[in-house]
C-alpha cells in the first residue's frame, strides 16, 4: 500500500518546516508481518489516525458512510477507501505508506500475510529496518507467524516489535497475553531475535496503539507508536572491516577505475589493500568521483565509490577488496542457512548458481540438514528443502569466492541462489572452509627497475599476449615458432609458452578435467601477462577449447591480449595428427581429448582467424605481423620514420 499521506506539517521546534525527504528526521522503513487476518490493515488504519496522518474529515466521512449502510465501522475500511480515492488527493498502493511519529518518518512496506506471496513478503521485509509482528490474541501463534518470524531472522531484520492484537476478544486478559508472549519469545529467542517490545493492543478500539488505556492497565511497556518512535534507522556498517565487492572495472579513459559499493568499513587513498580471493596486494592510489575528482577524505560504508590502484593487477567483478590485515576468507566450500522459494524442492546433488554480492559461482549441494517448515510447531526434518521452507546446506563452489560468516559481517556473509536465471532462495553464510593459502599480507610484489618505454624503445614493440587457440594439430605450435623466429629476427623479444611444454613443468599437477583446464589457462595467462607487462611478446599456443577460459585469459591480460583462432578444418587436423592423439582418441585410449567431440567452442571475436590448410606458414606469419602492427603492438617503421623527420 503506497500512500503519501501528507498531514498538516508538524512544525519543528524553531517553527521551520522540516524537509519532506526527512533530512532533519530519521527515516525508518518497517514491515508489518504476521498471519493472515490477524489485523494488519486495522492496525495500519489505526496508526494513520493516531499519528494524525489522515486527511481532514476522512474519518468522519467514512464513519457516516458505514452508519448509513448499517455496517459497523472498521479501521481497515480506511485503506480500501484511500485506495479507491487516490484520484481525489492521495497516492496509494500496496507497497508503501508513509506517516510520522514524533521523531521518525516511517515508511511502511506492505508484506502480504498469505503464504502464496511469501516471495513478496521477503522482497518487502528485506528492505526494512524494523518489523512489527502481529498476533491475534484469540488465535495465538499460527504457522505464518512462525514462518515470518523465521524469515525476519534470516533476512537480518533485528528490530522486531510483537503486538498481540484483538485483546478485546480475550477480555484484555493479562494471562492470555503472557501465554502468547512466552510462546513467541521462545520462538524468536530460539532464532537469536530478541523482541524490542511485546505489546497488548486492540487495534480496533485503540488500546495500546498510541495510549496505554485502563483496560490494559496491567501493561507497563511502550505503545506501538512509542515502539516505532524508538526504531533506529539502518546504520552503515562502518565499524566492521573494509569490504568493497567489485562491481566492475572501467577504462573509459586512461584511468582504470575499480568500482563498487563499500559494504562495511571505510577506505582512503594510500590504504594497503588485498584483492580476494586471489590475495594480490596493492595500494589505493586515488578515490575517483564526478564531477569533482579525485576526492580526499575517508569513504565509509554505504558509499558507491571508484578507486584506482598503484599497480596494474588483474581485478575482476566479484572480487572483494579488503585491508590486508583483515581479509575475508577464500573458500570453495561453505555452509549456509537458507530459505527456499522455488517450486521444486532443493535436494542433495542439485546444481545451482550462487551469488555472493557481485560474485557468482556455480555450485553443488553437498549435504542438506535441518530442512524444516518453519511454520510448523514440531518441525519434522526432511531430506530436501521444500518451497517456503528453510534448511542448512553445505555447498561446493566451482570457483573460489571470498566471504565472511554472517556473524562477522552481515553484508558479505549472505548469498542468494538462482535457478534458471531466477532468484530461488537466499540465506546466511554460517561457516566457511578457508583454503590453505599463504597469508597475503606477507606478499609484496616487486616491480621492475625498468620502465616499459625503455624496453619498447629497444624491442620496437609493446608487450603483448598473442594467444593461439584451435584444435589439436591445427598448426598452433608451428605458427607460434615461426612467429617467434620472425619477431626475434626483427630485434624483438618473443617468448614461446606452448601448452604442452608448460604442462610438463609449471602445470604438471593439473589434469584434463574442466576445472583443471581452467586453472591451466589461468596460469598460462598470468605468466604470459607478466611477460607482456615487462615488454615481451608472449606467444601462447594452447588448445584452450572453453570460451569462458579464454575470456578469463583476456581479462587477465586485458588490453595486451590478441587472440588468433587457428581455424584449420577438423578433418585436416585429424589427417595431420603429428602426435598421434586423434588415433588414440578414436581407439578410446585418450579420454578428454578435444577434437573428435564437439567440445571446442569457436572464438567469436578473435583479432585474427587463420586457416593453415589454405596458406603457407610464411603467409600466415605475415598476416599475424600485420595484425600486430594495426593493433599497436609492433611499431610501424614508416610511421616511426615519419615521426622522426
Amino acid at each position: 500500500m503506497n500512500m503519501l499521506v501528507t498531514p498538516a506539517s508538524p512544525a519543528t521546534p524553531n517553527g521551520t518546516t522540516s524537509m519532506p525527504n526527512g533530512t532533519t528526521r530519521p527515516q525508518v522503513r518497517i514491515v508489518i508481518v504476521g498471519h493472515v487476518d490477524h489485523g494488519k490493515s486495522t492496525l495500519v488504519g489505526r496508526l494513520l489516525h493516531e499519528t494524525g496522518s489522515l486527511p481532514d474529515g476522512k474519518l468522519e466521512m467514512l464513519k457516516a458512510v458505514s452508519a448509513r449502510r448499517g455496517m459497523p465501522f472498521e479501521w481497515s475500511f480506511l485503506l480500501d477507501a484511500l485506495q479507491t480515492e487516490r484520484d481525489q488527493g492521495i497516492t496509494i498502493d500496496t507497497t508503501q505508506i508513509r506517516f510520522r511519529t514524533n521523531s521518525r518518518d516511517i515508511v511502511l512496506i506492505d508484506a502480504p500475510g498469505h503464504a502464496e506471496f511469501l516471495r513478496n513478503m521477503i522482497t518487502g521485509a528485506s528492505q526494512a529496518d524494523g518489523a512489527v509482528l502481529i498476533i491475534d490474541a484469540l488465535e495465538g501463534v499460527r504457522d505464518q507467524t512462525r514462518r515470518h518470524g523465521y524469515l525476519l531472522h534470516l533476512l537480518g531484520v533485528k528490530q522486531v516489535a510483537v503486538v498481540v492484537n484483538k485483546m478485546d476478544r480475550v477480555d484484555f486478559s493479562a494471562d492470555r497475553f503472557k501465554e502468547i508472549s512466552d510462546e513467541i519469545s521462545a520462538h524468536l529467542n530460539g532464532l537469536g531475535v530478541t523482541p524490542t517490545a511485546i505489546i497488548p493492543i486492540s487495534a480496533r478500539d485503540g488500546d495500546g496503539v498510541a495510549d496505554r488505556t485502563d483496560r490494559i492497565g496491567w501493561y507497563k511497556g511502550p505503545t506501538v507508536v512509542d515502539a516505532l518512535d524508538r526504531l533506529e534507522p539502518a546504520r552503515p556498517l562502518e565499524a566492521l572491516a573494509l569490504r568493497l565487492p567489485v562491481q566492475a572495472i572501467y577504462k573509459f579513459d586512461d584511468r582504470r577505475i575499480v568500482a563498487g559499493r563499500i559494504e562495511s568499513g571505510n577506505l582512503i587513498a594510500g590504504d594497503e589493500i588485498v584483492i580476494m580471493p586471489a590475495g594480490k596486494i596493492a595500494k589505493i592510489k586515488t578515490v575517483e568521483s564526478w564531477p569533482v575528482t579525485p576526492i580526499a577524505g575517508r569513504q565509509g560504508a554505504g558509499r558507491s565509490v571508484g578507486i584506482t590502484l598503484d599497480r596494474e593487477l588483474f581485478v575482476e567483478r566479484g572480487d572483494i577488496i579488503a585491508h590486508a590485515s583483515a581479509a575475508p576468507r577464500e573458500t570453495r566450500r561453505l555452509r549456509a542457512r537458507i530459505f527456499w522459494l522455488h517450486d521444486k524442492p532443493l535436494a542433495k546433488g542439485d546444481q545451482l548458481l550462487v551469488r555472493c554480492g557481485p560474485k557468482e559461482s556455480r555450485a553443488t549441494v553437498v549435504a542438506i540438514e535441518k530442512a524444516v517448515d518453519p511454520g510448523e510447531l514440531e518441525s519434522r526434518e526432511n531430506k530436501a528443502i521444500g518451497r517456503n521452507h528453510v534448511g542448512e546446506i553445505d555447498i561446493s563452489l566451482s570457483n573460489p569466492i571470498a566471504t565472511d560468516p554472517c556473524t562477522e559481517n552481515p553484508r558479505t556473509g549472505r548469498l542468494v541462489i538462482e535457478v534458471s536465471g531466477r532468484i530461488a532462495g537466499g540465506g546466511l553464510v554460517l561457516s566457511v572452509d578457508a583454503g590453505q593459502r599463504a597469508v597475503p599480507v606477507d606478499i609484496v610484489p616487486v616491480e621492475s627497475a625498468l620502465r616499459p618505454d625503455e624496453r619498447s624503445a629497444r624491442y620496437r614493440h609493446n608487450g603483448a599476449v598473442v594467444w593461439l587457440t584451435g584444435l589439436p594439430a591445427s598448426g598452433k605450435s608451428t605458427l607460434a615458432k615461426a612467429l617467434e623466429r620472425r619477431l626475434f629476427t626483427n630485434g624483438g623479444s618473443p617468448i614461446l609458452l606452448d601448452g604442452d611444454t608448460v604442462r610438463a613443468g609449471l602445470n604438471s599437477d593439473l589434469g584434463f578435467s574442466a576445472s583443471d583446464r581452467s586453472e591451466n589457462i589461468r596460469r598460462l595467462a598470468e605468466v604470459a601477462t607478466h611477460l607482456a607487462r615487462n615488454g615481451h611478446i608472449a606467444i601462447v599456443a594452447a588448445v584452450s577449447p572453453a570460451r569462458e577460459d579464454r575470456a578469463t585469459a583476456r581479462r587477465i591480460a586485458d588490453t595486451a591480449f590478441r587472440e588468433i583462432h587457428v581455424a584449420t578444418p577438423a578433418e585436416i587436423c585429424e589427417e595431420r595428427d603429428p602426435k598421434g592423439h586423434y588415433k588414440k582418441a578414436r581407439a578410446g585410449a585418450l579420454a578428454s581429448f578435444t577434437g573428435i567431440g564437439n567440445d571446442y567452442e569457436v572464438p567469436q571475436a578473435a583479432e585474427l582467424v587463420i586457416d593453415t590448410s589454405t596458406r603457407t606458414v610464411a603467409d600466415a606469419v605475415d598476416e599475424i605481423e600485420q595484425m600486430l602492427k594495426t593493433t599497436g603492438v609492433l611499431f610501424d617503421e614508416l610511421v616511426d620514420l615519419a615521426a622522426n623527420i
Binding site: T23, T95, Q96, R298, I423
Partner: protein, 295 residues
C-alpha cells in the same frame, strides 16, 4: 538551481571541492545523509545493470526524473553515459523540452537516439483518448526495441508517483511482447536482481524507484542539475509532471524556485500526476497501459 542556459554553473561544484579538501583526515568517514544514501543506491543499480546486461539504453523523457537519472548515471560512470539515451518522441512535447534535449544532449555528450512513434490510428481504439495517445509511446518503444535489440531499458519511474508503479521491482522482467506480469514477479532482495530476461524479452531497470518527488527536487537543487523552466510557476501555474502538450495540464502554484517547490510539496494534497489526463480517464487505464508495456 540551474535552468536551461549555456554557462555551466560550476560555482557550486567548486565550493564543494574546496570544502572536501578542508576535512582533516579522520578515522571515520563523514556520515551519509538521506540524499547520499539514495544516490549510492541508484549508482549501485546502474553499475549492476551495465555489468549484467548486454545492450542497454536509458529512456530519456526530458523530465525532472530522467534528468536526475542521467546525472546519477554520470556519477556511476565518472562523467559518462556509456550507453544510448533513447528519446521515444511523440512529436508533441513542449518546445522548451525539445530545446532542452538538443542543448543537453550535446553538452552531456549523450549518444542520443530519437525514435518516432507510430500514428495514432495504429493504437488500440478501445483505450480512452489520452491513454490511447500515451499508448503511442508504448508502440514507439516497441519499435525502438525491435530496431536495436536492447535487453535492458532504464526507466525513471518512482514508487510514490502512481499506484501501479509502487508494485514494481528494481529489475522488472518484461514478456516477449513487452508486457508486465504483476502477479508473477520474481523475489528481489539484498540488492540481488533478476537480470536474465528470456531470449528476445527485455528487462526494465528502475534506478530511482525508491526516490520520492521531493527527493528529486532536493537532489536537483543540491547537484545543480538543469531543469526545464516549465516546472516553475508562471502566472500562477506550473507543471509538476511533463508529458505531451495535449494531455498534460499545469497545476496552480506560486513556486518560482526549487525551495518553493519543496515547501509546496510539503503542503499539497494533490498527487503529482494530477495534470496527466491519462491517469484519470478510468480506474484501470494506467494499469492496462503498464501491463502492455507502458512505463
Amino acid at each position: 538551481m540551474h535552468l536551461l542556459r549555456t554557462d555551466s554553473g560550476a560555482d557550486g561544484r567548486d565550493s564543494r571541492a574546496a570544502v572536501s579538501e578542508q576535512i582533516p583526515v579522520a578515522l571515520t568517514a563523514p556520515s551519509m545523509d538521506h540524499l547520499d544514501q539514495l544516490e549510492a543506491q541508484s549508482v549501485y543499480i546502474f553499475r549492476e545493470a551495465f555489468a549484467r546486461l548486454k545492450k542497454i539504453a536509458l529512456l530519456w523523457s526530458l523530465g525532472k526524473d530522467s534528468n536526475v537519472m542521467i546525472w546519477l548515471a554520470r556519477k556511476a560512470f565518472f562523467g559518462r553515459l556509456p550507453f544510448p539515451a533513447l528519446h521515444v518522441d511523440t512529436g508533441k512535447k513542449f518546445p522548451e523540452m525539445y530545446r532542452f534535449r538538443d542543448h543537453y544532449g550535446k553538452e552531456w555528450e549523450l549518444d542520443l537516439r530519437v525514435e518516432p512513434c507510430p500514428p495514432i490510428d495504429a493504437v488500440d481504439p478501445t483505450l480512452p483518448p489520452a491513454a490511447r495517445s500515451a499508448a503511442r509511446k508504448t508502440e514507439g518503444l516497441k519499435m525502438a526495441l525491435a530496431k536495436y535489440g536492447f535487453d535492458g531499458l532504464i526507466a525513471g519511474i518512482r514508487r510514490d508517483e502512481e499506484a501501479t508503479r509502487a508494485k514494481e521491482r528494481v529489475f522488472s522482467p518484461r514478456g516477449l511482447e513487452g508486457n508486465w506480469d504483476v502477479r508473477d514477479q520474481p523475489p528481489e532482495f539484498w540488492d540481488h536482481f533478476n537480470a536474465s530476461p528470456p531470449q528476445g524479452a527485455h528487462l526494465r531497470i528502475h534506478p530511482i524507484l525508491h526516490w520520492t518527488e521531493a527527493d528529486i527536487w532536493a537532489y536537483t537543487k543540491r547537484e545543480n542539475i538543469p531543469i526545464i523552466p516549465l516546472y516553475l510557476a508562471k502566472d500562477g501555474k506550473r507543471y509538476r509532471s511533463l508529458g505531451d502538450q495535449d494531455i498534460t495540464n499545469p497545476v496552480s502554484s506560486t513556486a518560482t524556485n526549487i525551495d518553493e517547490i519543496l515547501i509546496e510539496l510539503e503542503q499539497t494534497k494533490v498527487p503529482e500526476r494530477a495534470g496527466r489526463a491519462l491517469d484519470h480517464e478510468t480506474e484501470d487505464a494506467f494499469e492496462r497501459l503498464r501491463v502492455a508495456g507502458y512505463l
